[in-house]
Structures are given as structure tokens and as C-alpha cells.
């Protein structure tokens, strides 16, 4: 079991000015399940992408079974027995399970006129199931399958080659229920017993002690520690503490909350499959922070508060009055602005210039009553806003798509400033934003909060805790924890968001998860 199958040494990768990976050493043993842990941007995804040949490493060496290898693309990784399952596997909904498993590999030799041999496919699928026994009906259409069965199909798809030695799973459990998770874990153990090594990214720390033999924690692009799960549990190691580290310097502006009247309130807000029983209040003069992982319902909640979707239960109150939004334009008119989680698809028109983007959310302000644009005034205001948010470079005719992530976010914020809203909702405001621009964005949010209500929703616990005056944790669509920031710790917030409320109530100690008998 201690045979080293993969060794990576001194791996480095930089994107522009950001060091995504910095001199990372990493090792995998044959037939182990190895969890990769860390906050967003810690480097675990980058490592996995280098391992699967999607990214090319800038520095370092890689050995498989002792032999040095260099990957120039995903094909090289597969040739070397490394297969990856994406976070949201792309399957064809209208095809059956076994057709999806062999998608693109229907015949053994390529050629336009090779016939699909359905029976042969079925036999090969059955052979796979004999190798890796798991209860699944392969004749069912993908579109009718449960999330876990789709995941299983994606795993089997990755394993159609017989020589796969290392399997990479990127957050396979993020959308699964507890029962479904158990099924997936059973498959993972079967694979492990067949000698396959599994690398597995997760944000749900309680799973680590349940399924992983070893885990590695990343922080700021470095490998902080690799440990055996049972050793860590015996020693009472706190994983959240190791994930967070101590670096909460002056990245975040000083808090100076002076809570005023409630501007927006949610009472018992619920939407099927997304969130339930949400009560929250955002007041003028303070920042409300909401921490939640992928699948916590955070994104859906932000969209319900902005009128993109209509919640099925509960009420939204603006200034004490019940409101039903008829779309985002209605919410905007009533003084709400959303800085969406996906700025490239939801926040910006990438193929237009800065001024176009900045005024889009309130064109009436940039035009006369008859509808004609006041182009000179628009240009002047856009220049002022660009200076205010410290846009770099401050070239107004430049297309939004040409700016870096942080500066794109500044454009979205400038757009929000131009819209003159009362309530600002930020979702994942600093994903893909480098540390320098981050400080500026945080300062802008704090500045906004002086006269408006600001809600910050993020899967970066550090960010929520460091920035907000009041914090909440969302776990599986419910509020798991709520507290003034000064009366709690980042650790406690993280624990609540990752492992639900009762864990948080037990205090900020190590995760209290008993290993369940397999």
C-alpha cells in the first residue's frame, strides 16, 4: 500500500501576477483515496489541472511510477493512466447510460462509417460493472437519472480504458444527498480495492474522515500539510484552522458599522431545491456577510432577492413593505443592485466598452426624456467612476472583456454606483481577483456600506468574516449560523458553513466526526 505511484516536486504555476502554485510537492500512493482541501483559490484545482494535463506547469517535475513525465495536453495524461471527472460532467441527456459511458469511444478503430455496435457496447459496459460492481441501470436515459447515477456514469466513462491508475474527482459530492453520497463512496472504495488511486477535491470536511486515507491542505498556493486521516483524527488536528491560516492582515478595512433602518428583509423565504426558511435583514450602514459553499443555495438566494427568480414561499420586504419583484428591472427600479457571481456572463457586456457597461443599469440617467443619450455627460461620469474605483487602465473605449478579473469587477461596481441603488448585493465578489485589487474592492464595499445596505455572499469564509459586521452561514439551503462578526470566529463560521449548525454549536474545536464503520 505504500507504493508511490505519483510524485510531483517543486510544482509552480503563475497566472499573470498571481502565484497559483508555489513550489508544491505532492505524492500519491497506489490504491489510496486522497482528499485535497483548501479555500477557494488555494491552489488545489490548479494542481489537479496540471495533473490531468489541462494546464502546463511553469516549474517542477512529475514522476509516474518513478519515471519522469511531461504533459502537453489532456491526452498525455490519459495515456499515462490519469483520468479526470469534471465538477459538472458533460453527459448527453437523451442517451442511455452505456451509450454515455462509451461516448466518443463507440468503436475500437476510428472511421466515419464504423457502425455502432450496441450489443458490443452493452457487453463492454457489463464487463465494466463486473470489474467495479455497483447497482445501476445502464439502459436508463441520462436525463432520467439521479445526480449520483450521473456521477457514476461519468466515473465509468473515465474508466473505459483498462489502464487508468489515477482517477481525479472534482467536488463529486457537492450536489448529492446523504444517501446518494453513500452510494458514490461505495463505488470509490470498490475502485480503491481494484488498485486505483483516487484524488478527490471536496469542501465538505466531514467527508474527509469518512472516506479519505490521506489528505493534503492547500493555502495560498502552497502545500501546508499532507496527513493520514486517522493520525489527524487521533491528534485532534483542526482542519479549518489549517485551511484559514492566520493571514487576516489589513486586507479588510476597519469595521465602523452604524446600523440604521432595515432596508431589505426576507421572512421565511423558500424555493424548492435551493433554500428554505431564510430570514435575514440588511440595514443601512452595515455589511451583512453570508458564507456558503457551492450547493448551499446562496446563488439562488441572491437571485431571488434581485427578482431574477420568484421565491415560492415567504416574503421580501423593502422598507417594511411587502414586495413582489417582476424581474430584475423592477428590483433595480426599487433600488437594489446585484453584483452577480459570474461577472463575465451576468455582469458585463464583454464586447462593449467601459462607458457602455457602466451606464447600462440606469440608462435613463444617461439620456434625455426623449431617450437620446447625453454622450458627453456619459463620458464624463464614466471617467469619474473609473477614477473612483481605480480602474486600470482607465481607458473608457476599451472593451470590458480585455480587463483583468479585478478590473472587470470594478467596472461592475462602477455600474452599481451609477445605478444609485440603496441595497447592494455582492456574490462571490473576488473570485479570480488578485490580492491587490481585492483590498480596493473591499474598501469600496465598506465605503458603500456607510450610506447603503450591503450584503456580501461568498464561499470564501475569510472574506465574509473579514469584511462583514454581521455574519451568517448557509448550509444546504438553510441558515446554519448567525452572529455579529465580533462575537464569533472565522473558524466557527467556516465550521457552520461546512458541517451545519449543530457542529458549530459544539464550538470551534476540531471536526467532531466519528469514523463510520465501512
Amino acid at each position: 500500500m505504500s507504493e508511490t505511484i505519483l510524485r510531483m516536486t517543486g510544482i509552480g504555476k503563475t497566472f499573470g501576477a498571481v502565484k497559483a502554485l508555489d513550489n508544491v510537492d505532492f505524492e500519491l500512493q497506489r490504491g489510496e483515496i486522497h482528499a485535497l482541501l483548501g479555500t477557494n483559490g488555494a491552489g488545489k484545482s490548479t494542481l489537479v489541472k496540471i495533473l490531468s494535463g489541462v494546464y502546463l506547469k511553469d516549474a517542477g517535475e512529475m514522476f509516474i511510477a518513478g519515471e519522469a513525465v511531461t504533459f502537453t495536453g489532456p491526452r498525455d495524461a490519459i495515456e499515462n493512466g490519469i483520468a479526470a471527472v469534471q465538477q459538472h460532467p458533460e453527459l448527453v441527456p437523451g442517451l442511455s447510460g452505456f451509450e454515455n459511458i462509451f461516448l466518443g469511444r463507440e468503436t475500437t478503430s476510428p472511421g466515419l462509417f464504423r457502425r455502432f455496435q450496441r450489443d458490443a457496447l452493452r457487453q463492454r459496459a457489463e464487463a465494466l460493472l463486473t470489474r467495479f460492481p455497483i447497482g445501476i441501470d445502464l439502459a436508463e436515459e441520462i436525463g432520467n437519472m439521479a445526480a449520483v447515477d450521473r456521477e457514476v456514469i461519468a466515473v465509468l466513462h473515465a474508466l473505459t480504458r483498462d489502464d487508468i491508475k489515477i482517477l481525479i474527482l472534482d467536488e463529486p459530492t457537492s450536489t448529492l444527498t446523504e444517501r446518494e453520497k453513500a452510494l458514490l463512496f461505495r463505488l470509490m472504495r470498490t475502485l480503491k480495492n481494484a488498485g486505483i488511486t483516487i484524488v478527490y477535491i471536496t469542501h465538505r470536511l466531514e467527508e474527509v474522515f469518512e472516506i479519505a486515507d490521506r489528505f493534503t491542505i492547500f493555502r495560498g498556493g502552497r502545500n501546508i500539510a499532507t496527513m493520514r486521516s486517522d493520525d489527524a483524527q487521533r491528534a485532534g488536528v483542526s482542519i479549518p484552522e489549517m485551511m484559514l491560516g492566520e493571514k487576516t492582515g489589513q486586507l479588510y478595512p476597519d469595521r465602523h458599522a452604524q446600523p440604521g433602518e432595515a432596508l431589505i428583509e426576507a421572512r421565511g423565504l423558500g424555493q424548492d431545491g435551493a433554500f428554505e426558511g431564510i430570514d435575514l435583514v440588511a440595514r443601512r450602514g452595515e455589511i451583512l456577510g453570508v458564507f456558503g459553499l457551492v450547493g448551499s443555495g446562496m446563488d439562488e438566494l441572491s437571485k431571488a432577492l434581485f427578482g431574477v427568480t420568484r421565491p415560492e414561499r415567504g416574503d421580501i420586504l423593502l422598507g417594511g413593505k411587502k414586495i413582489i419583484f417582476h424581474g430584475p428591472s423592477d428590483a433595480l427600479r426599487r433600488g437594489i443592485f446585484l453584483v452577480p457571481g459570474d461577472r463575465r456572463t451576468e455582469g458585463l457586456t464583454l464586447t462593449r466598452d467601459v462607458a457602455f457597461n457602466m451606464t447600462l443599469a440606469k440608462l435613463r440617467r444617461a439620456s434625455s426624456l426623449a431617450g437620446f443619450m447625453k454622450l458627453r455627460a456619459e463620458r464624463r461620469i464614466a471617467a469619474e467612476l473609473a477614477a473612483h474605483v481605480a480602474l486600470q487602465p482607465a481607458i473608457l473605449q476599451r472593451h470590458a472583456g480585455l480587463f483583468s478579473g479585478g478590473n472587470q469587477q470594478k467596472i461592475v461596481i462602477a455600474k452599481g454606483l451609477y445605478a444609485q441603488a440603496d441595497i447592494y448585493i455582492f456574490v462571490e465578489p473576488t473570485v479570480g481577483v488578485d490580492i491587490g485589487a481585492r483590498a480596493k474592492l473591499y474598501a469600496l464595499m465598506r465605503e458603500l456600506s456607510a450610506t447603503k445596505a450591503v450584503i456580501v455572499m461568498s464561499s470564501d469564509c475569510d472574506e465574509v468574516y473579514g469584511l462583514a459586521d454581521r455574519v451568517m452561514a448557509l448550509y444546504k439551503g438553510r441558515i446554519a449560523f448567525e452572529s455579529p462578526a465580533l462575537e464569533t470566529t472565522a473558524n466557527r463560521l467556516l465550521t457552520a458553513g461546512i458541517m451545519s449548525a449543530q457542529q458549530a454549536a459544539e464550538g470551534p474545536s476540531a471536526p467532531q466526526v466519528e469514523r463510520q464503520p465501512a
Partner: protein, 325 residues
């Protein structure tokens, strides 16, 4: 004005000169004053369909129905004139028919989410079919002399032929809407990124519907001009619209970087020059359409950076695949 725009303008003028020179050499009449006037007359009828189509292309949709709708609208106007209605209500009636067809297109595509190409092919067929209901497809010319519709073709306003005057007015209006008003921002935002537009409070669906209405309405106007020139209304009023309209918009967009009113004007001018030149050389219409399509595809290839990128990729993978292992 920045350098990139100047270069594009230069490329456009160069194309005007090259096309003018080629046809000028091949036909002595091409550069005569009369013929240049004829080119603009051509622009004012067939070319106007491209102006409306610009809006649909800006919101990144397709409309293949406008030739059929032009026929239906023109026949409606013809029928109203034949029934003795005055000129203005007759024209308004035809355009109203176009607007109704555009609303149906827009609702089907933006609200009911039907695929745009199939929907507009169907709408075009339906409208073309309906253009036969008044006269079973026979031409309508009753009351045409008395109604004044022929004057649209023959009279001048401000030293310009009326069709050309109206074309310039329509282009100016379209330019004001698309490039000088907040509604123009809405059209572009809808086309470039509908999701971001929706998050910015832009009524995406209304803009898509408006684009289809504008295309249908201008197509009907072009059909009516066609009738005014021919002195009769017949269901073939929209027959020659499809290829030149698409070619104008895309040629202009290729020249100027994206679809816009000035770009379509430039595209229409080039296409009209070519069609006129082919007519002078008595090239049959089926060849002239084919040649225009070749010019269109070449222009897109030359000016669109995506094409250059794709070409580069193909060459690169070829050389990689060909490299010895």
C-alpha cells in the same frame, strides 16, 4: 476618431473605388450620372430591407421571413388602393400587416422560445401564401394611377427622388435610435449578452420583438416602393430581398467590425453597385446572386478576426499532425 476606424473607412472607400473601376472599365455607362442615380434608387428599395434586418442581426437573431412579409404587405396596400382607399391609409395598412407579422415572429421567438430560423421560414411562407388571398396571385393595379402611389417613385423632395429621400430619412432615424438613444444600448446589450442585459434591467424580450417588428415594417416599405416603381402590386414584390439584405448587413459588419446603421449603409451601397453593374453587363440574376454571395463570404473571411484565428488553428494542428514523431 481612432486609427482602427480610419483604416476600416479606408478599406470601404477602396472597395467602392475598386468596384467602380472594374464596372467602369467593363461598361461605359456605369459611372454616368444617370446610372449613379439608378444605384441610389436601387438602394432605396431593395437596400432598405437591410436596414430593418440590421436590428435583428444586432440582437443576434435571424429573420428569413421578411421577403414573404414584404409581399403580403405590398399586396395589402395594393388591394386597399384598388378598393379606393386614399394613399396614406393604404400604405399604413400594408405596414400594419408587416408589424403584426413582426409581433408574431418576436413573440414566438422571445417568449415561446421557438427557434428563430425555423419560425421565420414558416412565417415567411405563411405571409407569402397570404399575399395571394386578395387576387389569387394576379397583379393588382386598379386605381394606381389616381391614388398617387406612382408619385412616390416619380416625384422629388429637396432635389432628391422621393425613394432616396425617404431612404435617407429612415437611415437617419435608425441611426438616431441605434446609436444615439438609450434604446440602441438596449438592442446591443440584448444581442451581445442577453443574460447580463437582463441583470441590468434591460427588457430583453421587448427588444427582440421590436427588432422583428422593425425588420418586417421596413421590408413592407421596400415592397411598396417596388410596387410604386412597377406600377402594380404583385406577390413577387419581396423576391429579390433576401440575399442582398443579408449581404448588406454582413458585408457592412465585416467592414466596420460589427453590425450598425452606417455599416449597413456602406454594405448596401457596395451591394447595389454590384447588382447594378451586373444588370448593365446583362448578367442573369442567378449568377449575380451567386457572385454577391462569394463577395460576402470573402469579405467576412478577410475582415473577421475569428476567421483568421480559425485559419491559424487549422494550419497549426496540420503542422503538428504532420510533424515526425
Amino acid at each position: 476618431m481612432n486609427r482602427a476606424l480610419l483604416m476600416r473607412l479606408g478599406a470601404f472607400l477602396a472597395m467602392v473605388v475598386v468596384i467602380g473601376a472594374i464596372f467602369g472599365v467593363l461598361s461605359s455607362q456605369f459611372l454616368s450620372q444617370n446610372n449613379i442615380a439608378a444605384i441610389f434608387r436601387h438602394m432605396s428599395a431593395e437596400g432598405i430591407a437591410g436596414l430593418g434586418l440590421t436590428f435583428v442581426i444586432v440582437v443576434r437573431r435571424f429573420d428569413l421571413s421578411f421577403p414573404g412579409i414584404a409581399a403580403f404587405g405590398a399586396m395589402t396596400t395594393g388591394q386597399l388602393i384598388a378598393l379606393g382607399y386614399p394613399l396614406f391609409p393604404s400604405i399604413a395598412g400594408g405596414i400594419a400587416v408587416g408589424i403584426v407579422c413582426g409581433v408574431i415572429n418576436g413573440l414566438a421567438i422571445s417568449v415561446l422560445k421557438l427557434p428563430d430560423i425555423v419560425t421565420t421560414i414558416a412565417m415567411g411562407s405563411i405571409a407569402y401564401g397570404l399575399s395571394f388571398i386578395y387576387s389569387n396571385g394576379a397583379t393588382i393595379s386598379d386605381n394606381f394611377m389616381e391614388s398617387g402611389i406612382l408619385d412616390i417613385n416619380d416625384q422629388t423632395i429637396a432635389y432628391l427622388d422621393e425613394p432616396i429621400f425617404f431612404m435617407l430619412v429612415l437611415y437617419l432615424l435608425a441611426w438616431l435610435v441605434l446609436h444615439r438613444s438609450r434604446f440602441g444600448r438596449g438592442f446591443y446589450a440584448t444581442g451581445e449578452n442577453p443574460r447580463a442585459a437582463m441583470f441590468s434591467g434591460v427588457h430583453v424580450r421587448l427588444y427582440v420583438i421590436a427588432a422583428f417588428i422593425l425588420t418586417s415594417a421596413t421590408a413592407v416599405w421596400a415592397g411598396i416602393l417596388h410596387c410604386a416603381e412597377a406600377g402594380q402590386a404583385d406577390p413577387s414584390a419581396g423576391d429579390g430581398f433576401l440575399t442582398p439584405a443579408f449581404a448588406s448587413v454582413y458585408l457592412g459588419a465585416a467592414l466596420f467590425g460589427y453590425a450598425s446603421v452606417p455599416a449597413t449603409f456602406a454594405g448596401t451601397l457596395l451591394i447595389s453597385m454590384m447588382l447594378n453593374g451586373f444588370t448593365l453587363l446583362s448578367v442573369p440574376y442567378y449568377y449575380s446572386d451567386a457572385i454577391i454571395s462569394v463577395v460576402l463570404i470573402s469579405a467576412i473571411a478577410v475582415f473577421d478576426p475569428r476567421f483568421a484565428a480559425a485559419l491559424q488553428r487549422i494550419v497549426k494542428t496540420r503542422s503538428l499532425a504532420g510533424a515526425p514523431k
